[in-house]
Amino acid sequence: MNPAGTRPTALFAFLSLAFTAAGSAAQEPERLSARNANYTIEVRLDAKLKTLEGREVVEWRNDTEVPARELWFHLYWNAWKNDRSTWMREAALRGRGRRGEDIRDEDWSYCRIGSIKVLPAGGFTGAELTESLRFVSPDDGNPDDRTVAVVPLLQPVGPHETVQVEIGWQSKIPRTFSRTGFRGNFFFVAQWFPKLGVYQPDGNWNCHQFHAGTEFFSDYGVYDVKMTVPRGWILGATGLPIEVADNPDGTATHHYRQADVHDFAWTTSPDYLEAVKVFEHPGLKPVRMRLLYQPEHRGQEARHFAATEAALRCYGTWFGEYPYGHITIVDPAWGSGAGGMEYPTLFTCGTRYFNPAGGGSPEGVTVHEAGHQFWYAMVGNNEFEHAWLDEGLNTFSTERAMEATFGESSLVRRFFRGYFPVMVRDIRLHRMTTENGLDAYRPAARSDVQATPSFRYYPATGGALSYNKTALWLSMMEKSLGWDTLQKILSTFFRRWKFRHPAPDDFFAVAREVSGADLDRFFDEVYYKAAVFDYAVESVSSEEVRLRGYTDEKGEPVLARDGREGGKRFRSRVVVRRLQDGSLPVEVLLKFENGEELRELWDGLGLWKIYEVERPARLAYAVVDPERKILLDIDYTNNSRLVNPRPGFALSKWASKWMFWLQDYLNALAFLM
C-alpha cells in the first residue's frame, strides 16, 4: 500500500513493471481456459473529442463440431446511438436511468466499423468483408438496433480451425450509460470494441442485442491491448501493464495483457491517486491489489482494501482460489455512473465524501464487485440469458462475506440530496432478509418466472429476480441443507465450471449430486414458477378442558362435578394457512406457557391445516416456519400469533416516537407562520 496515496513514482512504475513481467510470464504457461477468442487491440483516446480510434485482430478458434459461415459481433456502444435502439426503448419501459430530456447531443455514442477483413493465416485466404457487414436483431427484430453486426465468411471456419480477422473502428464515447463512458476528464471504457459472440454447438451464434436489463457473454481468451491516452494520465485496465511508452505527440501508450479472461475494460483520468497492497492468506495465492481512487476519498483506502480482501479471502476459501495474482479496484469519479461494475481482474466500486463506517458502504459494493471475479469472470455464465447464475450467487456470497467480515450493517438514510448520511447504529440489517433484498423481491415476486431468459424479464424486475430472489433461495438452501453442504455445492460448481460457460441445469445437477437431496420440488417452486410464498397462522386458541355430562366413576356413570378429569388440561387449537400458491414443506411450532414445545412438519400442500392438542399448559403462541427457512415468504409477520397478545409496550414505544416526529414536523411548519 502506498500510504501517501500519491501518483506513481518512477520507482513505483519500475516495481510495477517488474511485477508485471514476472506475473505475465508466470501465468502464460498455465492455460486456465479454452482461449478460443483472442484479441490484440490498439486504441487511441481523443480526450477532447471523446472518441476512440481502434484496430483489433481477433483470433477465433471454432471449438464446435459445426463449421461457422458467419461471424457475429457485438457493437455495444450503438445501444446509445439514438433513442430507437432496443436498449433505449427498454430503458424507457423500465422507467429508470437517464430519460430523454437529460440526454444532450454530446452524450450519444456509436461504434462504427470502418473495415473488416480476414487475414491470410492458418489456411485462410485474405478477404475484405466490409461491404458485406449487416446488422441483425435476433431478439426483437428491431430494425433500428445496431448492436449486433454479422459478417458472412467467404471461407467457413471448420471445426477446431482458427481464423484471424482484422477490424478497424471508430467510436464516440458516451456520457455514461450503463456504467461506461465519460464525465469531465474521467473515462471508463467498457464494452468498447467489436466483440465476438459465442458460437454454440448447434451452429448458431449466441450474440444477443444489448438490453437495458442484462449484461454480457463471451468466450475466454488472451487480451493484448495498447491504449494511447494523454501523457501523465493514470490508467488502469484488465490485466497487468507490460510497458508504458511516451509518444512525441504528448500521449503515452499503455500496453496491458491478460490471459484467460472474457472481457477487457480500462479507465483513465489525470485525477486518480493510486495505492497498492498485497493480499495474503494461508493457502491462497497472494494478490496484488491496486486501488485507483479519487483525491477526495483520501483516507478511505483501507476500507477498499479491507473489503477486497474480504472477498478474496471468503470466496477463495469457500469456493476456490483467485488465480490471477492481481486485481485493480477503481473508485470512479463522482457522478460518473461508472460505479458498481465488474470486469475481469478489474472492478469499479464507489463511495461518497461522507460515508459512515458500519453503514455497509463502500464495503458492500466493493465485496460484491470483487466477488464477481469468481461468479462472472471465472465461472462465465451467459448473463443475457441466466443473469441469476452470477448475480444471484454473488449477491448471496457477498452478504455472507460481509457478515463474516464486518458484521451486520446499520441503517443509513441520506439527506439533503444524498450528501449527508445519518446512521442509526441500533437498527441492524439482517443478512438473509434485508441484505439479500427481500424488500426488493417482494413487489416483483409475481412479475416473472425466474427461468425466463433474463433479457426477456418483465421490465425493471430483473434485479429483484436475478439478484435478490436467487440470494434468498440460496439462503433457504443454507438453512435447510446447512452451510457445509451448500458450500460444497458452490465450490463443486465453481471447480467444475470455472473458465467455462455453465447453464442453470449444470448448477441444479451439482446441487442434487452434492446434497444427495431431492431438490426437484424446491427448484420447481422457486425457479420454474413465479410462485409466491405466504404462510400464516390464522387463529390460535387455548381453553381449559372441561367435561360436560357424565363420566365413569367405579364403573358407574356420574355427572362430572367440576368438569375436570385429573389435573388441569388445556385444549389448544391452531389454524395455519397457505395464503399463496408457493408450497414447500414447513415446520409449525406450538409453544406452551410451561415452556413445552411441539413441532410438526406440514407438507404445505393443502391450503390449511388445523392442529388441536391437549396439554397441561395453555398455548402461548404458534409459529409457522419458526426458523424462517422460507425466506421467500413475503409476509412473515403473519407467521406467528400469540394467544394473549400484549403489544401495549411496543405500540406505545413506537407511537410515541412517531408522535415526536409529528411534533417536530409541526414545529417546522410553524417556522412558516
Partner: protein, 334 residues
C-alpha cells in the same frame, strides 16, 4: 436597545409567562395525540398479535418494516425509521429547505394546517402579552386578544404560504437545476456538494428573511393595529431592510440556541432500545422537552423581536417602555 439586551429581556418575558409556551405545547399535543392514537392502532393491526411485537419491544424490526411499508398507505406511510433518533430533525429540516413540508399524507397535512391555525389564533394573544402585558394579562384578556387578531393572522398565514410557494417555485427549484446543469462535468463530489449547500444557504437565507418579515409583520399587526396582511408584511419587510444587521444578528443568536438544543437532543437521543417502562418514559420525556424547548425558543424570538421592533420603531421613549419590567409570573393568568 441593542440586540443582546433584546435577547436577554425577551428570554425573561417568556420565562415569566410560562403559560404561553404551555398553550402552544398544548396545541401541539392536541393536534398530535389523535393522530398518534390512530398510528398506534395501525401498528396494532400490523403486528399486534404477532411475535414481531417482541422485536419491536426490544428494538426496531427492519424485516417487519419491509412488509409494513410495502402495503402502507395514508397515515401508515409516514411511519418508518425516520422517526428514530435525529432522523426526524434531519428529515423535517430537509423538508423545510426543499419546500416539501406540504408533501405529506393528507391526514398529517390536515394536522399541520390545524396547528398553523392554532398558532394563528394564539399569536395575537402571545404578542400582546409579550409586548403590552396590560391588555392580555388575564386569561380572558389573552383569549380575547387571540380572537381579535385571529383572522388577521389567518390572512397573513395565507400570504406567507403564497410567498413560500413562490420562493420554492421560482428561486429554489431553478437554483438547484442550475447547479445540476453547472456540475454536469464535475467529478468531485465536494465541489457539487459545496454548490448545492450554497443553494441551500441562499434558500435558507431567503426563508429567514421571509420568516423575519412575517414575524415583524405579526408584531406590527398587533402593535400598530394593522388589518391588512399585505401592508403588515410590507411593514415587516421594510423593518428588516432598514435594520438588516440587527434583525439578522438577533436571529443568528436564536439560530445558535436552536442548534444547541438540537445538539443536546442528539446527544441525549435514547435510540430504539428502550425495553422497560422507565426507559420508555424517559425517552418520551426527552422528546417532549425538545418540543417544548423549540416552542419556547420560538416565543423567545418573538419577544425579543418585538422589543427590537418597539425600540427601533419608536425611538428612545419606546425603548424606555420596553425596559419596563414585565409582570411577575404570579400575575400571569393566561
Amino acid at each position: 436597545m441593542n440586540i443582546a439586551r433584546c435577547f436577554a429581556v425577551g428570554f425573561g418575558r417568556v420565562w415569566r409567562a410560562p403559560a404561553l409556551p404551555g398553550w402552544v405545547f398544548l396545541a401541539s399535543l392536541a393536534v398530535s395525540l389523535p393522530l398518534t392514537a390512530a398510528m398506534r392502532e395501525i401498528l396494532r393491526s400490523s403486528f399486534g398479535t404477532s411475535l414481531v411485537q417482541e422485536n419491536m419491544r426490544r428494538g426496531f424490526d427492519v424485516d417487519w418494516y419491509g412488509e409494513f411499508s410495502r402495503t402502507a398507505g395514508g397515515l401508515a406511510s409516514t411511519f418508518g425509521p425516520s422517526v428514530v433518533g435525529m432522523m426526524p430533525i434531519a428529515a423535517n429540516l430537509e423538508r423545510t429547505l426543499d419546500g416539501q413540508l406540504f408533501a405529506v399524507d393528507w391526514t398529517v397535512l390536515a394536522a399541520g394546517i390545524a396547528f398553523l391555525l392554532a398558532w394563528a389564533f394564539l399569536a395575537g394573544g402571545i404578542i400582546l402579552r409579550l409586548t403590552q402585558a396590560g391588555r392580555a394579562r388575564t386569561r380572558g384578556g389573552f383569549f380575547s386578544a387571540c380572537g381579535e387578531y385571529f383572522f388577521r393572522f389567518v390572512r397573513l398565514l395565507a400570504l406567507s404560504m403564497a410567498i413560500y410557494w413562490a420562493l420554492f417555485r421560482w428561486i429554489s427549484g431553478p437554483l438547484h437545476r442550475w447547479v445540476e446543469r453547472g456540475t454536469r462535468d464535475v467529478t468531485v463530489e465536494f465541489t457539487a456538494m459545496t454548490w448545492t449547500m450554497g443553494v441551500y444557504a441562499v434558500v435558507g437565507l431567503l426563508l429567514v428573511i421571509a420568516g423575519l418579515s412575517f414575524d415583524y409583520a405579526k408584531i406590527a399587526m398587533v402593535l400598530e393595529e394593522r388589518r391588512s396582511a399585505l401592508l403588515a408584511f410590507v411593514r415587516g419587510l421594510r423593518f428588516f431592510l432598514s435594520h438588516p444587521g440587527r434583525t439578522l444578528g438577533l436571529y443568528g443568536m436564536f439560530l445558535i440556541v436552536g442548534a444547541l438544543i438540537k445538539g443536546l437532543f442528539i446527544l441525549s437521543d435514547p435510540g430504539v432500545g428502550q425495553a422497560g417502562n422507565a426507559a420508555l418514559i424517559l425517552a418520551f420525556l426527552v422528546g417532549q422537552c425538545y418540543v417544548l424547548l423549540c416552542i419556547f425558543l420560538k416565543l423567545w424570538s418573538l419577544a425579543s423581536q418585538a422589543l427590537l421592533f418597539q425600540a427601533a420603531a419608536s425611538g428612545p421613549e419606546a425603548a424606555a417602555m420596553a425596559r419596563e419590567a414585565p409582570p411577575s409570573s404570579s400575575e400571569v393568568a393566561a
